[in-house]
Amino acid sequence: MAAKAGMTMAERILARAAGRARVKPGEFVTAKVDLVMANDAQFPQSCKALEDIGLKKVFDPDRIVVVIDHWVPANTPMVAEMHRGIRAQVKELGIRHFYDAGVGIEHKVIPEKGHALPGQLIVGSDSHSTTYGALGAASTGIGLTELAYVMYTGKLWFQVPPTIRFNLTGRLARGVSPKDLMLALLARHTTQVAQYKSVEFGGPAAAAMDMEGRLTLANISSEMGAKFSMFAADATTLAYLHARTEAPVHAFGPEDDAEYEAVHGIDCSTVEPQVAAPHKPDNVKNVSEFASVRVDQAFIGSCTNAHAGDLQRAAAIMKGRKVAAGTRFLVIPASHEVMVEAMKNGSLAVLVEAGAMVGTPGCGPCAGGSTGVLGPGETGIASTNRNFKGRGGSTESFLYLASPETVAASAIEGRIADPRKYLPGGMQ
């Protein structure tokens, strides 16, 4: 090993945040966080945990963003009361960056509103907080007690993770999208490949990928066990952020001679539409293996795959077609901004005309919180991230995970279908 190997993105960020010149994998550090994301799933209990020990302030109200998204709009009086509590709580604590029900899913809203920046250390009260790594941040999920601790102190312990790198080459074929790429990686490397580790995506296909694709990959890296999942912040990142924040933003990446625990490569052009069968995200095969599986519900939504481009590609497949009789088609845009864009570019009209039910921007039934859950014996296909038994409804239901394109094609046929045959101009 070289005496002075360079640092990966995770190491650079943790070293800075811990006030150190350099850090090495395995070391424990106490680091100052740049941003804290809190949601309706944990923020109220965290506030209560602080109050229980007599504390009623936060380290920096401007570094905390609160989003209501897991149960929107409120579906029970208890949830409505909990949401009321959050509105009062953020006012009392002086938290200005508060996004109420309907603005969207936290992992879409935080990037959209320009809160997550390259080189930052971010924690969020949700496992998919890895998403902000799409912007070059080291971002990860925590629970409610740690959320309470970090909201008060602004710091938290971290073990410096080793980094594994995925070099992406080639181009995804038409009808194949970043979700398929991640499912293919899960099929090869399993849900444990990035356990306690940081992931960096690099190579020409990562550099060429748009921000929505990066958000999808960084998001669902959580299913690989990733602590962080990052793309270098480049021209694409800066262009995305310049439209969304006044804060100074700079390119950020690993040092040239950074040391990786492992480097894996994948040629994107070889990836076919992928489907994860119940009840694990790495239970993955090519879509053709599932052609006989009938679906009661097809759902495009969640923090993983409900971007404007996702809806647009789904609409291109649905255009002039109808949802199969006996199948329900549910579409929940990731945010209000996405919904407006989908209205303006016509994709929402196509989806609704095809027979889609459209829901309020938010998490929807992904974690079983809002309407659209599956009943006993039912089978669903969704563009979401987890197909654990009972997560999105009954423990006797079956959920398949796929790209928005595959979900759309499956809605048309009422069974799991290859989206490529519905592409405008055919499979070529």
Binding site: A41, T145, E146, K227, K389, R391
Partner: protein, 167 residues
């Protein structure tokens, strides 16, 4: 501090996710209902679990959602500890934060059959199979984290820190 846990082992495989410990479908339901849903993927666990029993698991125990209700439910059910080949990282953090004893221990799955008696010496990261008379060393937690558990969790630690800062 000296934390020693003894109990009868329930065995779980790989990738037991937090949805299975705190299912969405019993969120905000009375504890009596929640209790019956915890680790519903193991036939017999709900009916057979006795307070003080412990869990022996494979790789990636507690993967998935960040919900702290997962270890908190196990703690409230009075699961003595979880010893696993490896943990989902947020579950591990959450367990430490609420002072619920967990230990990473390679080879643990093969070292126990369901129903055998386990003893965990948390401070020394040692696991004994009392039924077989065998012993296995786990991965020691660093002193920073042992300190959190010894304090009774992160909120207790914060209470101490805030009090010290106020003096």
């Amino acid at each position: 501090m000296s934390l020693v846990v003894r109990g009868r082992a329930w065995k779980f495989g790989d990738d037991i996710n937090t949805d299975y410990m705190a299912p969405g479908f019993v969120k905000n339901q009375p504890w009596e209902l929640v209790k019956k849903a915890i680790l519903h993927v193991h036939p017999g666990f709900t009916a057979g679990f006795r307070p003080g029993d412990v869990i022996v698991a494979g790789e990636n125990f507690g993967c998935g959602s960040s919900r702290e209700a997962a270890p908190a439910n196990l703690k409230r059910l009075e699961v003595g500890c979880v010893v696993a080949e490896s943990f989902g990282r947020i579950f591990l953090r959450n367990s430490i934060a609420i002072a619920f004893p967990v230990l990473i221990c390679k080879g643990i799955s093969r070292a126990f059959e369901e129903g055998e008696q386990l003893e965990l010496d948390f401070d020394r990261s040692l696991v004994k199979n009392l039924t077989r008379g065998t012993e296995l060393a786990g991965t020691p937690l660093p002193p920073e984290l042992v300190r959190i558990v010894a304090a009774g969790g992160m909120m207790q630690l914060l209470k101490q820190e805030a009090a010290a800062a106020a003096r």
